[in-house]
């Protein structure tokens, strides 16, 4: 496999920025296209790439970095001609909010886009998102001010800001270590000696301009109507001769999801109480871990079925088929088993299951938002800590080359579907439960002998507060966008 072009690809896509604990997402609306394009040309050289060389790797406190993404409305607002936006895929053009996608993603009721804080039909139209990353808050504050100073006269209006952070032990607010189970990408992540080769995925699953797992190039936006400096763009790899706007870029899915931490842990406490009515910490954490599929430490429950081995774990080299085919350790309906079924899909062979799974992988780059309930992030403390004044949750972010077959698919067919595998009414217990469903109250099945245990009447602990489908272009494509008025 040829190497991917790290000098062209924006850094957050491939690198994840584990060293940067603080993040900030600035939501921009273009008010003056020529001025905004000039600004874009000015910041283009400062956009951080996926090249591992340099400050980030050598410096324990690297300088803050910036990445940039655009919505469909944003590309039009910058002056990209309709003929040239037409070749973006339909999902990106119509955006995250349509009546149909609401059904697919389950964005109804309290998560209805009309209630969103950004990205919804009642909000200012998002055009550009700046993603800022820094090691600590003072560095971020200084960096943000420096970036904001550039907005002066740049034809941009700031319409929102989301502050992300990395919680203790890289946990999400329910207290579970997050960001494990990422796919490795051929052409970027070295494959030599990796104990889990089945976790290596073709670059075209996450980047436009490279072959995907089917061995074909993903659908990429091209230039139909000449505008701007076309010398900046290469021709389409698939060979149509058109200039490729998508190459080394990808689609960026962003969803802000609030988490009801108190609700989650009190509900689980109520479901697992001792006979005398007192809270049963071990049973409560075990039930939550069964729902997640990993212990709070991150250790996979399929490997450690009885207790959390403790510490922090990124263990990812495991399957389900051999030792846990029917889910008696890691329930089939748990969050991690249904969003990444690995070799365990019931109606397939191991190899088939791995192949299918790898057609629907996501590069997740999420960050938490809102203050920690408890410094320890221990479930017992999360249960008893006072409710912070501010809302807490997850800024879910992921990259994929095919929104329909990756993000939409995983959310609709695996996480959101009550019929996943052989279930009747088991959606993802963390993120798929709806308040009302024609099928009836949602449940969670824990496979066991001699018979399964049912956790009935699941509650919804997560609500969507905003979101967008964006395009994160290559460095050259950013420079091209800056040139389209010329």
């Amino acid at each position: 496999m040829d190497k991917v072009d790290v000098n062209e690809i924006q850094g957050i896509i491939l690198r994840g920025y584990g060293k940067f604990d603080i993040s900030c997402f600035v939501l921009l609306h273009v008010t003056n296209a020529p001025a905004a394009r000039t600004w874009l040309g000015r910041i283009a050289p400062t956009v951080n790439t996926a090249n591992r060389q340099g400050d980030y790797d050598t410096n324990p406190k690297p300088h803050p970095v910036l990445n940039i993404a655009f919505t469909y409305a944003g590309l039009l607002a910058l002056g990209l001609q309709q003929a040239n936006t037409r070749s973006f895929v339909n999902e990106f053009r119509e955006g995250m909010v349509t009546a149909h996608r609401q059904r697919l993603l389950g964005d109804v009721d309290q998560s209805d886009p009309t209630l969103w804080r950004w990205g919804g039909p009642k909000n200012d139209v998002l055009h550009i998102m700046l993603c800022l990353y820094a090691t600590d808050q003072p560095a971020m504050d200084a960096f943000r001010q420096k970036v904001a100073a550039e907005f002066e006269g740049a034809g941009l209006k700031v319409i929102g800001r989301l502050d992300g952070l990395t919680l203790e032990g890289r946990r999400e607010h329910f207290g579970f270590r997050d960001g494990i189970g990422q796919p490795k990408m051929d052409g970027y992540d070295e494959n030599t000696g990796d104990p889990s080769p089945e976790n290596h995925v073709a670059p075209g699953e996450f980047l436009l301009g490279y072959p995907n797992e089917y061995g074909v190039y993903p659908d990429t936006p091209t230039i139909a109507q000449p505008q701007g400096d076309l010398n900046l763009l290469k021709s389409v790899a698939a060979g149509s001769g058109l200039k490729d706007l998508g190459r080394n870029g990808t689609y960026f899915v962003f969803r802000q999801m609030s988490q009801d931490v108190k609700g989650f842990w009190s509900d689980l406490s109520n479901r697992t109480r001792n006979n005398d009515g007192s809270d049963n910490s071990a049973a409560r954490i075990q039930l939550a871990s069964k729902m997640v599929g990993r212990w709070p430490s991150g250790a996979p429950i399929t490997r450690y079925p009885t207790a959390d081995p403790g510490g922090l774990s990124d263990e990812d080299n495991f399957g389900f088929r051999e030792h846990d085919p029917i889910g008696e350790q890691c329930p089939i309906g748990s969050h991690v088993r249904r969003t990444n079924p690995r070799d365990g899909l019931q109606d397939s062979t191991s190899a088939q299951s791995t192949k299918i799974t790898n057609h629907h992988r996501l590069l997740r780059r999420g960050r938490a938002y809102g203050p920690m309930f408890a410094r320890s992030m221990h479930p017992d403390d999360l249960l008893t800590a006072p409710q912070p004044a501010e809302e807490v949750g997850l800024l879910f972010m992921c990259f994929n080359a095919n929104i329909a077959n990756q993000f939409d698919f995983v959310q609709a067919n695996w996480a959101g579907s009550e019929k996943f595998e052989k279930f009747y009414n088991d959606p993802d217990p963390l993120m798929g439960v709806q308040r009302s469903s024609p099928i009836g109250p949602a449940q969670f099945t824990i496979q066991a002998s001699p018979v399964r245990k049912i956790v009935p009447n699941l509650k919804r602990y997560v609500e969507v507060r905003g979101g967008a489908f964006m395009f994160m272009p290559s460095i050259s494509a950013i420079r091209f966008l800056a040139s389209i008025g010329d």
Binding site: N90, G215, V216, D347, Q352, D408, N413, V451
Partner: protein, 417 residues
């Protein structure tokens, strides 16, 4: 034994009535699942799925009229089904078919003349598949209630530490003594036995192997190498078409899919298509009896119909989950069969020897498939909360009630819950 039938009625639409007919049937489609619908299919105990689809004339043949296709998957004989449909929806049928050719004049409309009309226009299909064969609608509903009853029973008892066979015995005692479920004491209607047909098929097919090989060679050299694929990309699909299609998608556990394709010109392709459809039909009836095609567990019913004298192919399918899931399953698990049928249609991605490549050109294939998708104006499902896996598992649960089980078999059966 239950005889599942696919009833298809194809009629010509009166000139000039096309758009009002579309609006009318679309309106029926909006309410067809409701209890108070004009079309009261919800009261039928034999209709599994039904739909009306309007088919435009071929692009270059304006002399061909638009057609209205009614398709219905049902239990029992065709005439009885037609009579029931007339009883449930005569007013709607009158409104719809008055806009079509040859429908009885207002004064001449009665249940007999309506029946005569529908019967006359009933049309055969070339190939069908049934995901839960040999089960009536009533049986599907009964078996769903049986499972729910057992689930509640399990929820209200603690069997921790008990041997599996004890639990099975307790379940049997519960079911057989529960008046609402005690019907399950009787064995399920037998499923069709197909071994003899299969053996016969092999005996006949074996000498044909050299013919097929030569046929495929001709296909490769004279056709596949020179035919042009459409190379349509998903991004170039018509957004207006997608909007219309999506309006009726992902509302229930199941979805519908209507697809209309131009068959490639010439007798060779048409003959190939007929042969493949015949074989697929035979295998569907005799081989894929467990609700799966190549382990695709998500299809309730589908049918293929060659129409317009061999010029077009109509595919109607009722399946579980989203369109992406449906197509992805086929690409990942049944590329072979899909190529065998669809590569005989214009614009399909290039195949090798009929069965290879093709759909694995996944971006072009998905765009091609979606582009051939036509709007279904009205669609009815009798069990909008059950998928094929549920239906088949419910049947397996029921069969287990009457089976002798050792400890291992009992443990396996209990995992169905």
């Amino acid at each position: 034994m239950t005889d599942f039938r696919t009833l298809t009625v194809v009629v010509d639409v009166k000139r000039g009535a096309e758009s009002s007919l579309r609006t009318l049937v679309d309106g029926f489609g909006d309410t067809i699942q409701n209890d108070d619908a004009v079309i009261r299919f919800g009261r039928s105990e034999t209709i599994h799925f039904a739909r009306w689809v309007l088919i435009d004339p071929p692009a270059n043949e304006p002399s061909v009229p638009s057609r209205l296709v009614f398709s219905c998957n049902h239990d029992g004989p065709q005439d009885a089904q037609l009579k029931q449909i007339i009883g449930l929806a005569s007013a709607a049928l009158d409104a719809i078919y008055a806009m079509c050719e040859e429908y009885p004049a207002p004064g001449a409309r009665n249940d007999e003349s309506r029946l005569q009309y529908l019967r006359t226009h009933a049309a055969p299909v070339n190939s069908i598949f049934i995901g839960a064969p040999d089960r009536t609608l009533l049986q599907i509903r009964d078996e769903a209630r049986l499972r729910e009853g057992i689930e509640s029973f399990l929820d209200s008892h603690d069997f921790t530490g008990r041997p599996a066979r004890d639990v099975v015995k307790a379940i049997r005692d519960f079911v057989f003594n529960e008046s609402a479920l005690s019907w399950a004491r009787e064995p399920a209607p037998p499923r069709a036995v197909t071994l003899p047909q299969l053996i016969l098929f092999c005996i006949i097919a074996l000498p044909l192997v050299p013919v097929v090989l030569i046929w495929l060679l001709i296909l490769r050299i004279c056709y596949e190498r020179v035919e042009k694929p459409s190379n349509l990309l998903p991004s170039r699909l018509d957004p207006a078409l997608l909007k219309i299609l999506e309006r009726r998608e992902d509302i229930y556990v199941q979805n519908q899919f209507s697809q209309l394709m131009d068959i490639k010109a010439g007798q060779f392709r048409l003959l190939t298509l007929r042969a493949v459809l015949w074989t697929a039909n035979f295998m569907g009836h005799n081989l894929f009896k467990n609700g799966t095609i190549n382990s695709i567990p998500s299809i309730h019913f589908y049918s293929w119909r060659i129409m317009d004298g061999g010029k077009r192919l109509l595919f109607l399918s009722n399946f579980d989950g989203s369109w992406q899931n449906y197509l992805g399953d086929f690409i990942d698990k049944a590329a072979f069969g899909l190529n065998g049928v669809l590569s005989n249609c214009a614009g399909f991605p290039v195949t090798w020897f009929l069965f290879l490549k093709g759909v694995t050109d996944v971006e072009h294939y998905k765009a091609w498939a979606r582009n051939a998708n036509i709007p279904t104006q009205a669609w009815y499902t009798a069990y909008p909360t059950l998928d094929v896996k549920n239906i088949n598992m419910n049947s397996t649960i029921r069969l287990g009630l009457l089976k002798d089980m050792d400890e291992q078999a009992a443990a396996d059966w209990l995992r169905l819950f």
